[in-house]
């Protein structure tokens, strides 16, 4: 019998849970989704405005307070990246390598510039610059008012890298990026020079596949420590100014970790949620009931709860203290790969088919 080869980590069926919280669907909107081109289209939230993009080339803006659409802008070319938004501008990158700066009120295009690379992660910005990182690991920084190229850091292209939503962490002075070769770099925002770099994991093994050891998640900064995950490498904490490693733990995760008040949570390759003590790296708990379910990057809803989406369109909420599953809801049967968002008492989820849902997150304990 032509057995379909079973995947490396077979998805585990969901067991009944003791729901302590619940998620009630409030609102549902629609984008054109990723159209099978493997885009995640991370959403952006600023003040009460929610922004999203899709593979059709449309950028949407909603007013969450009023619960209705503000504007839709059609760029007539597929968008591959996630969305970044703040008070001044909204940034997206198209599939053929054009960075667009849009006016947050009207969606009109301020400027656009070509960088001729595929960008999946959402652009990041600070007061002066907007920074994007391509799938191959190269980093471009542009002046956010004019769109003029400030600097370009190029990574020596490895033959086979992991397809992931590489996202830089932009601070005032430095921009932190992970590379396909397993290194964490700090780039000086003025000129793009490498202030420091630290090797988090080593490519080992014989074939190209075994040699893949990308750092593909977005580095996270919390209480003066910089955290990063690594594919077939390590989860590590380093000093943000010098790159001095504080602790590192063998792990394999290609998604960004979530850090909040002393707890770091990441999803490993097998789909287990693992919580570490942010100061020492000691393992607090491991939640493996969602193994193999293609989880999205974990997000803290509040200090007590964190949430992930899975490949069948389920939302799962876990308790931060021990990782037990406290709430669950299912949207349409389409994968949720974009990290969830929290707005006031609501949780926002986006599926790859473009269904965007707002859920009221409340406890069901009297």
């Amino acid at each position: 019998c032509a057995s379909t080869p079973e995947p490396e980590y077979p998805p585990t069926p969901l067991a009944k849970i003791q729901a302590e919280w619940q998620l009630d669907l409030q609102e549902s909107w629609q984008t054109q989704g990723s159209q099978g081109r493997g885009y995640v289209h991370q959403m952006a939230l600023y003040a009460d405005a929610l922004y999203a993009a899709d593979a059709q080339g449309q950028v949407y803006a909603w007013d969450l307070a009023q619960g209705q659409k503000i504007w839709v802008q059609d760029l007539q070319t597929p968008i591959s990246s996630g969305v970044y938004a703040d008070a001044q501008q909204v940034f997206v990158v198209s599939a053929d390598g054009q960075l667009y700066a849009l006016n947050p009120q009207t969606g009109a295009t301020d400027w656009q510039t070509a960088l001729k690379a595929e960008v999946l992660g959402a652009p990041q910005a600070n007061a002066d610059l907007v920074v994007v990182q391509s799938v191959s690991g190269d980093v471009w920084a542009f002046k956010r008012l004019t769109g003029k190229l400030a600097w370009h850091h190029s990574e020596q292209a490895s033959r086979l890298s992991l397809r992931a939503e590489r996202t830089p962490l932009v601070t005032n002075l430095l921009t932190y990026v992970g590379t396909p070769e397993g290194k964490l770099l700090a780039l000086d925002n003025r000129n793009g020079y490498v202030r420091w770099d630290v090797r988090i994991s080593w490519p080992q093994g014989r074939t190209d596949i075994e040699k893949m050891t990308d750092i593909s998640g977005q580095p996270q900064l919390s209480q003066g420590t910089l955290y990063t995950t690594g594919y077939r490498g390590k989860v590590a904490a380093v000093d943000p100014l010098t790159g001095e490693p504080r602790w590192a733990v063998e792990a394999s995760s290609y998604l960004s970790a979530a850090v909040d008040s002393g707890t770091l949570v990441y999803v490993n390759e097998a789909g287990h949620l693992v919580a570490l003590d942010a100061y020492s790296g000691r393992t607090l708990w491991i939640q493996d009931q969602l193994s193999g379910r293609g989880l999205s990057a974990p997000v803290f809803l509040d200090s007590g709860h964190l949430a992930v989406g899975d490949y069948q369109g389920y939302l799962h909420v876990l308790a931060t203290e021990d990782g037990r599953l406290v709430a669950r809801a299912q949207q349409a049967d389409a994968p949720i790969q974009a990290p969830l968002l929290r707005w006031k008492d609501q949780v926002i989820s986006l599926s790859t088919e473009g269904d965007l849902h707002l859920w009221k997150f409340a406890t069901n304990q009297p």
Partner: protein, 756 residues
């Protein structure tokens, strides 16, 4: 303690289980009575260890006796594979054997890792990047091990999306069409175009570069190609970033170096002209044409290279062709191989390139074509090899593959036109490899009994004067052949001489006689009885035939290029009972369309008439049309005017006519799964043909004289010819397009043993 220096009285080996002492001594370079020191012994031990038979080799000394303590490595008794579905076990075991790992082999610790790596490599080659292999060993008695390999094949990494960046001039779709790799729906397991492989990507990038170079974008550059694999390892995404650059026009073209020929002559071969958009393929074609031309002048190893100099300001190219003829070459020896049946002289006499003369590439190639035109060989290849120590001399080697035509063959053929054909054919075109055509053939069928003896020597003299003679006896029952109800007995003989007029055309004359008896059946058709009344039923004729043949086909059988024409005039000379002539033209031309596709146009024309006191041309010499080799889809000989039934009754039969018009248009295409195109040719065709009488017999009522279009018959269909061991097999399925009531059509026709 290792002995410092001593004479070895004897050598004893301890720890042998399955390895024989003889093998150990053969690998241990120390012999009895030899004086050795510690260093020599260490080297000897290392040499024995390198044999790979033992896990450990230790030396000890017992008095004057050297003791070898060895621990044998186990050998692999069995390798078992589990979980492999896409790649079957033989394939995997063959891969392991190639890596030197097979049953009976010595087992080393490293073997396990080697097995794992080798199998992973095999799966990665199939694009199954997520395959995982565990190998473990289990000890058996007799120092042997069994190796168990558990395979999880994982899924094939399919290309989800190819992303082109930086292309403004040509859009994504036009460029992606050039690619072999495509992002395709993974619903079909055998759909392999979307299976990523590095070689295919390299090939596609090369196609992309030449696409741009061929359109003048000389500064086109592929900046980066980036391959990303999804974390679940089953989807691959390609990013190709390019820099198109400006389009360049040709500014000037120069020729430099030792041109050997006049500049004008060489310049005519260059396919680029100033002002035209530059194209790399035209530049390469021009270089090849120049090199070929110099080869024809004896400079077989000439080389020509073209250097485009870019002027970025004006976006124009200055093109310089550097010509270096090298030295004129001479052919030292010409050698044949593969002609185990055909005599060397039969091949050598066809060559245009002379041994001992200056070498011309064109003549060497033309000689290859002439060998193929003999029709004795399935394949003829030629290579020119430089002679060591003689920079200006070459040897030419023709490698032939003989056609599997038995020299003695009894053939039982079947063709619808004449039923079962028993035939004993003593030989055909290459009698015992002498190149002479000797045919002693006896054929019996309901339609015709014929006995022929013919002998034809194409090289009666060296210059190519050919000579042949033939004797034949034929009894034909036209009734069986659906013509009309009479039989003819003919016998005769002829002597033929021919000689070449040029490299590919010949003229031949033949003188002969034949005697024909016509025996009408009782209800013979009126036309026959009318003719017999006029001319009697037994005719003797002297036959003089002149024939001009021009054969430029690229192969003797199943040609795919070139042309063939023959004009012949057959005259029954004065002094024969019936004086008539028949003028025939037969021509075919191929238009190759590239890699085994070509169009073939064929035409047959014939006109015969009586002359002198004679009024009618003998009806048994009439032309007929229809059937295989003529207008397919119609019964053979069935097209054309029909006879008038006898007064007694009986049906009308085809009567043929004194002039024939036939033509066919064929598209020859290769069958996809057939590699050996040389012995199988398939085609789709349209045939047309008609037979007419310039004047009608007074007795025939339904007869229209002269050419008229309703007389033409059309058909269309598909055909196949296959060269089997016992002779060519021809099939055709054709639909008659404008058959009328009394035409007898035949959709399926086949025959074995004749080539058409």
């Amino acid at each position: 303690q290792t002995p410092d220096r001593f004479v070895v009285e004897d050598i004893r080996v301890q720890g042998l289980q399955r390895v024989s002492a003889g093998t150990v001594f053969a690998q241990f370079p120390v012999s009895v009575q030899q004086e050795v020191d510690a260093e020599q012994l260490a080297r000897a031990a290392k040499f024995l260890f390198k044999s790979g038979l033992f896990d450990d080799v230790r030396l000890a000394r017992d008095g004057q006796v050297l003791v070898l303590q060895v621990r044998e490595r186990p050998t692999i008794a069995k390798i078992e594979l589990e979980g492999n579905d896409q790649l079957d076990s033989e394939e995997l075991l063959a891969g392991l054997t190639r890596a030197g790992l097979q049953e009976g082999q010595v087992f080393q610790r490293a073997t396990l890792a080697d097995i794992q790596q080798e199998l992973e490599r095999l799966y990665h080659a199939q694009g199954r990047y997520s395959a995982r292999i565990q190998a473990k060993e289990e000890a058996l008695d007799g120092n042997r091990v069994r190796i168990e390999i558990d395979i999880n094949e994982g899924s094939v990494a399919r290309i989800k999306h190819i992303n082109l960046l930086g292309n403004q001039v040509f859009d994504d779709d036009t460029l992606l069409d050039l690619f072999e790799l495509e992002a395709g729906p993974s619903w079909h397991w055998f759909y392999t175009a979307d299976q990523y492989s590095r070689e295919r990507l390299k090939g596609d990038l090369e196609t992309l570069r030449s696409y741009y170079f061929d359109r003048g974008y000389l500064q086109f550059k592929i900046e980066s190609t980036q391959v990303a694999l999804s974390p679940t390892k089953d989807a691959i995404y390609l990013n190709i970033a390019m820099q198109e650059g400006p389009q360049y026009q040709v500014d000037t073209i120069e020729l430099a170096g030792d041109l050997v020929l006049t500049e004008a002559e060489l310049r005519a071969l260059i396919q680029l002209t100033p002002g035209q958009t530059f194209s790399r393929s035209l530049m390469t074609a021009s270089t090849e044409a120049l090199r070929q031309r110099l080869g024809n002048e004896g400079y077989t190893f000439a080389n020509v290279n073209a250097l485009p100099q870019l002027d970025e300001a004006t976006q124009s190219v200055k093109l310089v062709f550097f010509v270096d003829p090298g030295r004129r070459n001479y052919v030292r020896r010409i050698r044949f191989s593969g002609n185990t049946g055909t005599m060397d002289e039969v091949l050598r006499r066809e060559l245009i390139q002379m041994e001992g003369g200056w070498a011309s590439t064109e003549q060497i190639q033309q000689s290859r074509v002439r060998l193929e035109r003999l029709g004795f060989f399935k394949q003829v290849e030629v290579e020119t090899l430089p002679v060591a120590g003689r920079p200006d001399q070459v040897d030419v080697h023709y490698r032939v593959e003989e056609q599997a035509a038995g020299s003695i063959s009894a053939s039982v053929g079947y063709s619808q036109s004449s039923g079962i054909v028993y035939g004993l054919q003593i030989s055909q075109r290459n009698f015992l490899g002498t190149g002479n055509r000797v045919t002693i053939a006896a054929q019996r069928s309901d339609y015709r009994d014929s006995y022929t003896f013919s002998y034809y020597d194409p090289y009666y003299t060296q210059a190519g004067v050919s000579r042949g003679f033939s004797l034949f006896y034929r009894a034909t029952d036209y009734e069986e052949g659906d013509v009309s109800n009479f039989t003819t007995d003919t016998y005769g003989a002829s002597l033929t001489y021919g000689y070449p007029l040029s490299e590919d055309s010949r003229l031949s004359f033949s003188l002969g006689f034949d005697q024909t008896e016509v025996k009408p059946a009782v209800d013979v058709v009126q036309e026959v009885s009318y003719f017999l009344e006029q001319e009697g039923d037994s005719h003797f004729a002297y036959k003089l035939t002149g024939r001009w043949i021009q054969n430029r086909l690229n192969r003797g059988i199943l040609a795919t290029a070139g042309s063939y024409q023959s004009v012949s005039l057959e005259v029954a000379t004065p002094g024969s009972d019936l004086t008539f002539y028949k003028l025939n033209y037969r021509g075919q031309k191929y238009f190759p369309l590239g890699d085994d596709w070509s169009i073939r146009v064929r035409t047959d024309l014939g006109y015969g008439d009586a002359y002198g006191s004679q009024e009618w041309m003998p009806f048994y010499e009439h032309y007929y049309s229809g059937g295989l080799g003529s207008v397919r889809g119609y019964k053979s000989n069935s097209i054309g005017p029909r006879t008038t039934p006898s007064l007694v009754g009986g049906d009308t039969d085809p009567f043929g006519g004194n002039f024939l018009v036939e033509a066919s248009l064929e598209l020859i295409y290769p069958l996809p799964f057939v590699q050996d195109q040389r012995s199988l040719q398939t085609s789709a065709f349209i045939d047309a043909g008609g037979v007419y009488n310039s004047a009608c017999y007074p007795v025939s009522d339904a007869c229209e004289s002269g050419f008229h279009t309703q007389g033409l018959r059309y058909s269309a269909g598909v055909g196949l010819t296959w060269l089997t061991g016992i002779g060519p097999l021809t099939f055709s399925i054709a639909k008659a397009l404008n058959a009328e009531a009394d035409d007898d059509t035949e959709v399926f026709q086949f025959s074995l043993g004749q080539t058409f």
